[in-house]
Amino acid sequence: MRLRGIVFGFVVLGAGGGLLARGATRIGVHQGYAPEQPIAFPHKVHAGDNKIACLYCHSAARTSRHAGIPSASVCMNCHALLEKQTTAIQRLKEAVQQERPIAWTKVHNLPDFVYFNHSQHVVSGVACQRCHGAVEQMDRIEQAAPLTMGWCLGCHRAEAHVPTSTFARVAANVRGRPTPFAGEDCTSCHY
């Protein structure tokens, strides 16, 4: 009878609403963003096959808030000696000769109003892959993590020895909460 139709309609509406809501919560999340670069730089070849340490090129990550895109001159440290020639390498060398900076396309754009300091995390022994994914297997870099606040906090809580699972937190709360860790403060990232 008709009532069934009505009920069905409500179910459909609910499901649709749920999907829309989920879509809404993905606004501004660019997971999987993999733009083309002015010079096709294969991390797979460098970090993967040739096992060049991340911090060799991105040396700034050790001391700075920025990981730092290496200057073309850094590339030349090796490519001056290697005779391998590709169009990409050709364009790189031109850039170096003309002292023309290369405008790389930024892949990992944090949401607005967030301050992230690479050095803090590198020094604390966070592996690059933990946020950037398996870079050594990527030909073209893509954003592996969602880079949302919830995602950051998950790790911060784990590292801050604040129980992440609800039940663990309940238990901890019964015992009396562990001393708060600055890594959970708003001002750790927002100022």
């Binding site: 809501a21 989920r22 919560t25 999340v29 949302t148 606040m149 919830g150 906090l153």
Partner: protein
């Protein structure tokens, strides 16, 4: 809604007729059919010139509102007169004012129902409609006063979200407001609609085909007046009334905590909840009076909205008005008795500071004006009641303005004192919202039965 036709004592409303006042709540004894056609006339006849003029004015104000709010969203609330000292002024004043207006409706339909006041029957429908529209107007302000409506969703605790464990602050009265206002709006709306279903069915059956019949058929949910449904229906009405009664009292109490839980001198007072509720009912009845006096004249419903109704409302107005006046006095006494330097200064400043004129205007309108209602003749004089009701509304608007602005503009550190001067946008939006309210109401009296036919039938039959 079962106040209608009570002659035998029955489980739902077991009142003996002789306990009721001998007042006639309907003039003459119109037949059931007469009642139906009288009440549905405004919806079926062409609107008169008076209606068109009112509607033109109101909708002009609405256009102005749309324009100004649009500009507000584009430019930010800097276009208002607010500043570092006075962070709230017209916006929250309007919010509290309209919430207050919204109180009479549910009060009439719920509390008077529980108190078995027969006279509510012919006014409750329009009073409830007024409630709905007033709450809509009120709800506008929390949204626009932030200047960035697209961020308003932050205030709802929803899942899934990108923020992980960050919810909202359930300690903040603003969150309480969100829940209180939305609950109040929903319940009032349901209550209103539920009460309208039988009348919608009536209209459906009067309608001669066409879109009108279609719409009414959808809305009336296939109502056919079956007694089995009626008996459940009355239980549900009672239950809703029982739920709505504490709700009415809670809403303005919660709104008052916006102020009472803060530490601003003049806000930080425990008498605020009852004081605000009294004020709300007061202003609500003021507005009901205004509207009914207009409609009964323009729509020729004197037969159903009698002077007796007006007088009954006048009595409530007098009572709540006196309560409000008492609250004013108490505030001053508390300030003096507390010996708190900031509190004392606030009330001295309220009575002698740059905004003193608002204070005295408020006392004049809210405390002195209703005193004329002690005289029966005054209570039964329609023009006088009209004037009083208007003054009451003015006074209650200024009450909120005085509380908010005078509280903020001079408090703890004299170095941070400031003044608030409204801009054209403050005033424009104030006017615009009145326009919104009245155009909604004007549409309502054209589109829906503004008097509960089935209830009146019950009464007339008694």
């Amino acid at each position: 809604m079962s106040a209608g036709g009570i002659h035998t004592s029955d489980p739902t409303t077991g009142a003996a007729p002789d306990t009721l006042p001998a007042t006639r709540w309907i003039e003459g004894t119109p037949s059931l059919h007469r009642i139906t056609s009288d009440i549905s006339r405004p919806m079926e006849a062409k609107p008169g010139r008076g209606w068109w003029i009112c509607f033109a004015l109101a909708s002009a104000a609405v256009l102005n509102l749309l324009g100004m709010v649009g500009y507000l969203f584009a430019k930010g609330i800097g276009i208002w007169g607010l500043n570092n000292a006075v962070g709230w002024a017209f916006d929250i004043t309007n919010f509290v004012f309209w919430i207050g207006i919204g109180h009479a409706g549910t009060l009439i339909s719920a509390i008077l129902l529980l108190f078995r006041q027969k006279w509510r029957t012919s006014i409750n429908r329009s009073a409830e409609a007024m409630t709905i529209f007033a709450v809509m107007c009120a709800g506008l302000f929390p949204l626009i006063h932030m200047g960035r409506p697209w961020d308003a969703f932050f205030i709802f605790p929803y899942f899934p979200n990108q923020r992980g464990p960050l919810w909202v602050n359930f300690r903040s009265p603003l969150v309480w407001d969100v829940f209180a206002i939305s609950t109040y709006f929903t319940i009032s709306l349901v209550f209103w609609y539920l009460g309208m279903i039988p009348d919608l069915a009536t209209l459906r059956d009067r309608a001669v085909g066409g879109i009108k019949k279609f719409v009414f058929r959808i809305l009336s949910l296939g109502w056919n007046g079956s007694q089995r449904t009626w008996s459940r229906y009355e239980i549900v009405s009672l239950v809703l009334a029982a739920l709505a009664t504490p709700l009415v009292l809670s809403v303005h109490s919660i709104v008052s905590t916006d102020f009472a839980t803060s530490l601003v001198p003049g806000w930080h007072t425990t008498i605020f909840p009852p004081y605000f509720v009294a004020g709300a009912i007061y202003s609500g009845f003021g507005m009901v009076l205004t509207l009914l006096i207009i409609t009964r004249q323009t729509m020729h419903l004197e037969r159903y909205i009698t002077v007796n109704h007006l007088e009954a409302m006048a009595k409530v107005t007098l009572l709540t008005g006196s309560l409000v006046g008492y609250a004013y006095a108490t505030e001053f006494f508390n300030a003096w008795y507390s010996g708190n330097v900031h509190e004392r200064f606030h009330f001295i400043n309220r009575a002698t500071g740059p905004y003193a004129w608002c204070f005295y205007l408020m006392v004049l309108c809210n405390v002195l004006t209703p005193q004329v209602l002690w005289w029966k003749r005054a209570r039964r004089s329609v023009p006088l009641l009209f004037v009083v009701s208007i003054l009451v509304n003015v006074g209650m608007w200024f009450e909120r303005f005085v509380i908010i602005v005078v509280g903020l503009h001079r408090n703890f550190l004299p170095s941070a004192w400031g003044m608030f001067y409204p801009t054209v946008f403050d005033i424009g939006i104030l006017v615009g919202v009145f326009g919104l309210f009245f155009s909604l109401f004007l549409l309502f009296i054209r589109a829906l039965p503004m008097i509960a036919m089935w209830e009146v039938k019950g009464v007339s039959n008694g």
